[in-house]
Symmetry: C2
């Protein structure tokens, strides 16, 4: 056996590697006995300890086995079968050049007004705390949860103890957690149209999923009457994506429905309730829930920053018991240092100030866009509440959804069809979404001018 010097690596590694290669190549066949440690050491002019190191490594990896009072023997190792792979390893696709000048993508939020230096200061000071390296409680930092509970009570009338509040790394993450908590037999009824991640998620997690149809007041309660063991996903403050608000009468019907059956729960996704521009929003559905049937859901991604992965969920008592029995053992998914900084952002009043500023700013943006679209009066109608970060536009000049999108695109502007938000066929035509959250005033006006040209009939 010849052992070649191994360059930079320790001698024992060189010996180990060359023996291993010979075993894998079959030069040292299964059952062969390795030279004794002394013999090899003397042959190579190295210490017995060095050979020992190599043999231990080979033994630990299962290439050789030690037989007491006899020595080291090469193990039987099957040949590794190799199939032909179904295609090459994927690599990045070059991005396609984009001819779109203004993209009214929904979901964006304005960043110009974010108090970046305040945030940096709070995060720097959170960093000074060695606790920032530790995991928080599974539900999240208690101080942050207290601050969120206070805010939700003030702003949305949400009534909950700190124990009922659970922080997660984004809405999808909390929906996953809920899906985990629910018995598998539990049906999930989703408002139709809907934030489409929600139904994909529940369906993939093994729950039967069905649409819950809506009218102008929101979810229709009658079709739900036959269902028990059911979770209803809804956005009562600002229906996503249609932008409608659920009136009090429908809310009470819905709460009474949930309170009167077996295991009926409502997820109230209050995703952008911070952004109402004309009148104060109705308090949350959760605030009127006397029976512990509403799961309240919200996020800081829109109101603070998308890069901040902090969302929250209020569990009613019965589900909280399931959480405690089933889920509390899982670690929190939320960055500790960001939780600490966010706690101070809320406690010291920066969040309230920021929201007020953002509301003024986004209202002005929305008004600017609505005004710039005024020449289209008689051609389109803007539906839904004066709220959030997108407009829902209804054509009244006979244009279809497809025509609205295509005409916009030929004028360099992208608007978004509403039909993909439906489970099953879209019951009406001629509606599109215009997100304005992340566009500058100049982009808004440029985009609107192009749409006026594109949609004028």
């Amino acid at each position: 056996m010849v052992i070649l010097p191994g360059g930079d690596e320790p001698l024992y590694v060189a010996i180990y590697r060359q023996l291993r290669d010979q075993i894998q190549a079959g030069t040292l066949p299964a059952g062969a006995r390795l030279p004794s440690r002394r013999a090899l050491a003397s042959q190579l002019g190295v210490s017995v300890n060095t050979v020992d190191g190599a043999y231990s490594q080979l033994q630990s990896e299962g290439f050789v086995e030690s037989r007491p009072r006899s020595g080291y023997y090469v193990c039987v190792i099957d040949a590794l079968q190799k199939l032909s792979l179904p295609g090459r390893r994927p690599e990045t696709q070059p991005a396609q050049p984009d001819a779109v000048a203004v993209d009214f993508r929904p979901g964006g939020a304005a960043r110009e007004k974010f108090p970046f230096s305040v945030w940096q200061r709070l995060l720097r000071s959170a960093l000074e705390d060695p606790a920032s390296l530790e995991r928080t409680a599974p539900q999240g930092d208690p101080g942050l949860r207290r601050a969120v509970a206070d805010y939700l009570y003030e702003a949305r009338g949400v009534r909950c103890s700190v124990e009922q509040l659970i922080l997660g790394a984004g809405t999808d993450s909390l929906l996953s957690m809920l899906s985990y908590l629910l018995p598998n037999r539990c049906t999930v009824a989703v408002e139709n149209p809907v934030y489409n991640q929600a139904y994909r998620l529940f369906a993939r997690m093994g729950h039967p999923v069905r649409p819950a149809e809506i009218d102008k007041q929101g979810v229709l309660v009658e079709p739900l009457e036959a269902l028990d063991d059911v979770l209803l996903y809804t956005t009562p403050s600002h229906q996503y994506p249609l932008g409608l608000s659920m009136p009090m009468g429908r809310r009470v019907k819905l709460l009474n429905w949930a309170g009167s059956g077996r295991f009926r729960y409502i997820i109230e996704d209050d995703y952008d309730s911070e952004f109402r521009y004309d009148i104060r929003p109705l308090p949350s559905l959760q605030s009127a829930d006397e029976n512990g049937r509403v799961i309240y859901l919200g996020t800081f991604s829109r109101s603070v920053a998308p890069g901040l992965r902090v969302s929250y969920m209020v569990l009613p008592p019965e589900l909280l018991r399931l959480y405690e029995a089933e889920y509390r053992r899982f670690s929190s998914q939320v960055s500790t240092v960001e939780q600490l900084a966010l706690r101070e952002f809320l406690v010291r009043g920066h969040f309230a100030t920021h929201l007020n500023r953002m509301r003024v700013y986004c209202r002005a943006k929305r008004r600017r866009l609505v005004a710039a679209l005024a020449p289209l009066e008689g051609q389109i109608r803007i539906i839904g509440e004066a709220a959030g970060h997108h407009l829902t536009v209804q054509a009244v000049n006979g244009m279809t959804e497809r025509e609205l999108c295509d005409a916009a695109l030929t004028h360099g502007v992208r608007v978004y069809p509403i039909s993909p938000y439906f489970m099953g066929p879209c019951p009406y035509d001629g509606k599109v979404l215009l997100g304005f959250g992340s566009l500058t005033d100049q982009q808004l006006e440029q985009g609107a001018r192009a749409l006026v040209r594109a949609w004028q009939r």
Copy 2:
């Protein structure tokens, strides 16, 4: 109708609130007509605009409806039914006083050696980047993924493109994602014993889960031969919690099994491969996989800090296609600013330095604990590799697991039974875990002295 002055709130809110209360109390019954805006304004001595504001709010909330050329009428709103709640709202339980002086809880990691000031500096500088407020790509920051891919190749022989690497907010979060990607019919076979979150998670997500029995070499392959459409969860580098390493022969058998059936995948959870103290660990199972059947999983929670919620997963090409079709639309759950800081931590070599230091430090800790337990020779045996952050102890003096735990506790020390890690009955008795990752030298020695007294027969 009497409207009382409303304190600090705007006049229109006071009017709105009092009308709403009267509607809810039934004083203004369903169908009643509100006074005209002019009449009420003149009666209250306020402007018509103020009354307008109150009526709009009531209308928007669905308490009244407007009938053209007629006025505002109170809507029919069902009474809210109230059930008796099953118990009070939960509040915090006071923590029980703890008589345990030394807690050998597994899962902890040493923090004293963490280069906190370097980390703070990197995080501060990541904060300067406005991109820290934005969401990263769904799979995570490409620069960080490149750095992780390079590290995994160097340290563990993992071969993957940046596209195959997906960052998540902890191992549980990535297991959820996998569960989402798998067809529901897919069975999950988990090594027994096992990190028990893994099987709970898959079971709750609707997958049939079954144990995969192990011997001293790891997972037994023969019982798996009958299974297709299956995902096997295993920890080949350092079996959790027994601490064994899977030898090469078994690895090849396992890879050949996975390569030869329909939809057979292996999750290789390489949770603490950074911490080997005697010999270099065998390269990852993934590195020997020629058929694209291994999902490689790891985390920075142990090697950097538990408060940092960053873990990673390498998907083989076929599953990557499922991810791209099904999951890429979901946002990343990982904090952006921490991704940026971690990227620099890796790229600038701090991670490598830190790991080297930690390895030396943890090895010393482990040796100290083993040495302090030496008086128990003949009473206990330490099994498993010299690796990780816990010892697995086997009683050879006839003590049962229960007796080991109870005797320790009466001496003020908590050790952890191994049976909870089993699906079904634990096939042997007298094994416990001693986590040493987060204990000081003094605690280690104090704890070991107590165990010597507790376990001496």
